[in-house]
Symmetry: C2
Subunit: 354 residues, 2 copies
């Protein structure tokens, strides 16, 4: 995977810029699809898995998508390369596991489009965009879907919609999500209220690394739960025009409240985070994430003007991805144990934040 070391150095472009980037780090649309004529993967033989891969690759090759598309046989990747792809949000932990035939197509060079083959479903199409851009991400995913369906028969029921391995995805098969940065709501103690409100509106709230991961460093993935009986446009409108703007508004209000009523506490908290990152010689991933989150907030609120004049929020966000252990080992170009990673992580962060 020769591009991987290069990617590790570059960060991830879906993390830089975009609309409402002060709160919405990135947007993602994922479609779950399965091919007619093949059993769901829990019942598929290795041979059938290979056939699914062959059919998908053949179809991809005959579409304009083939341009710049990298194919990866995941079962042949090293543990480190798998880790890197998971950390870059290009594939799921689930796809990374095991040795059965499975694959990943990545749209290079921007890595904003991926297709996982033989994950939970035969196909998982994913489009990532920086900032709040669910419409664009949806349009992108929908275009890919059209290209694929032009030559592949998808399992579809007129009554239920797209059929998927897990009933929670049946229907549209669509999951739309955004990565939110909500540090002020945590500092003001309102984050749990907002999370409960999101859950009440049928949203799920997960951590930086999706299902099963704790929210780390005040980054949360918010996504729709229901896929059945609701048109994509309805889900899209609800998320992009109602729920996310409302959460963003709460976060911005919390930031303003801190700035106007607890300015010194806020500055102290953020400057301490910067001080720790600039001076530590050993850094755990949790410490790095938690403190980078506060420094990102500082760059957004102009609190760090005196301490780190040129520091941009997206440079901090990139570091969030790069401090992960797979990225570190790619950057160092050597395998490292936990202690070595903590040293190298601290060195990397120090160098960037000086």
């Amino acid at each position: 995977m020769p591009w991987s070391a290069c990617s590790a150095r570059r960060g991830a472009c879906w993390l830089a810029g975009g609309a409402d980037a002060d709160v919405v780090v990135s947007s993602r649309v994922r479609l779950a699809r399965n091919l007619c004529g093949y059993p769901f993967l829990s019942r598929a033989t290795p041979g059938q898995r290979q056939e699914v891969i062959a059919a998908v690759r053949a179809r991809l090759a005959s579409t304009p998508l083939a341009q710049g598309l990298l194919w990866v046989d995941v079962q042949e990747l090293s543990t480190l390369d798998r880790l890197l792809l998971v950390e870059r949000h290009l594939m799921s932990k689930e796809l990374a596991k095991g040795d059965l035939p499975r694959g990943l197509a990545v749209g290079l060079p921007d890595e904003q489009m991926t297709i996982m083959v033989n994950e939970e479903d035969h196909l998982r199409v994913q489009v990532l965009r920086p900032g709040l851009a669910l419409h664009e991400a949806w349009q992108g995913a929908s275009d890919i879907d059209d290209q694929l369906e032009g030559g592949l028969d998808m399992a579809f029921s007129p009554r239920f919609g797209y059929l998927t391995a897990c009933p929670t995805n049946v229907g549209t098969g669509v999951r739309m999500s955004v990565m939110l940065h909500l540090p002020a709501l945590r500092l003001t103690g309102e984050i749990d209220k907002v999370k409960r409100a999101a859950a009440d509106m049928g949203m799920s709230v997960r951590g930086f690394y999706g299902e099963g991961s704790e929210a780390t460093g005040d980054f949360f993935q918010l996504s729709n739960q229901r896929t059945l009986g609701r048109a994509e446009q309805v889900i899209l409108r609800e998320l992009a025009s109602e729920i996310i703007p409302k959460v963003a508004e709460y976060e911005r209000a919390a930031r303003q409240a801190l700035l106007s009523r607890r300015a010194r506490f806020l500055e102290d908290t953020i400057c301490r985070a910067l001080g720790l990152l600039r001076h530590a010689r050993l850094l755990t991933p949790q410490e790095a994430m938690g403190n980078l989150s506060l420094v990102r907030l500082g760059t957004l609120l102009g609190v760090l003007g005196g301490e780190a004049p040129g520091l941009e929020p997206h440079a901090v966000t990139q570091l969030l991805v790069q401090v992960q252990q797979g990225h570190l080992q790619k950057l160092a170009d050597r395998p490292m144990d936990q202690q070595q990673r903590r040293e190298f992580r601290a060195e990397l962060v120090r160098g960037r934040l000086k």
Copy 2:
């Protein structure tokens, strides 16, 4: 008290340099004396207190000690001036309290000699020296004692020795103590063992501010407990030649062990402390003391060479005194509430450690 603001800016000269200053910050000898013909202070009338003061001042005036000696009527001092003197270790909390006639003589400009009048005893003579210098401090205190006794009758029993208000001081009336900086013993978890061993040898171990104060920032006052039936020279030899060198040896061994076996942990711990002090916008006294202690260790071990090349241990030790609330208000030349002090403390420390 016009010299006080100036003193606050200067720090305390008994904190800079001296023998074994890597571990022994300062040495102190205190003598307790009472005048014949006056009751102990618990039974003395205000008039008798005034007479004691008058007798002491008259005697002082007729000796060479009068040169450079400042007299302070403590009961007339502001709360802030009292606080400043306590923080500078020039008088006890006990002397600072209350409005009965009491006084303090301070040897200017170096503030290494003080005489408290009407504290627990009629007279408390104190000599401070930087580093391990108990012999010199003892000699200094003894000289003052000789000068005083040349014109004042002290309460003395041929059987018990000097008589004092509290039986624990009867005999020599001498308390010899050193301020030790033992950060490595805390980091290696051996500090409690050393404190127990010191107690077993008849020593008392107290905090930075003496009796009743918790040890703060790894600074401990170690002093003799017994005054009865033991000659000053015996106490002196035991402390200066046996106990203190042994504790210093333990601390140095712990520092070397950390340097050779846990170098990265040590560097991380110390650099984080420096990072916090350089970046915080609000600092409590405890945080300041705790982190300054680690930074002092860093300057002694050369761990901060890359981060703070010119920083000297004694500059850090001075800050330990100056971050106290009385000093801060003198430096700022205005009264400050807790929040204002935390801000000003952070500003002061940031400025010094940049």
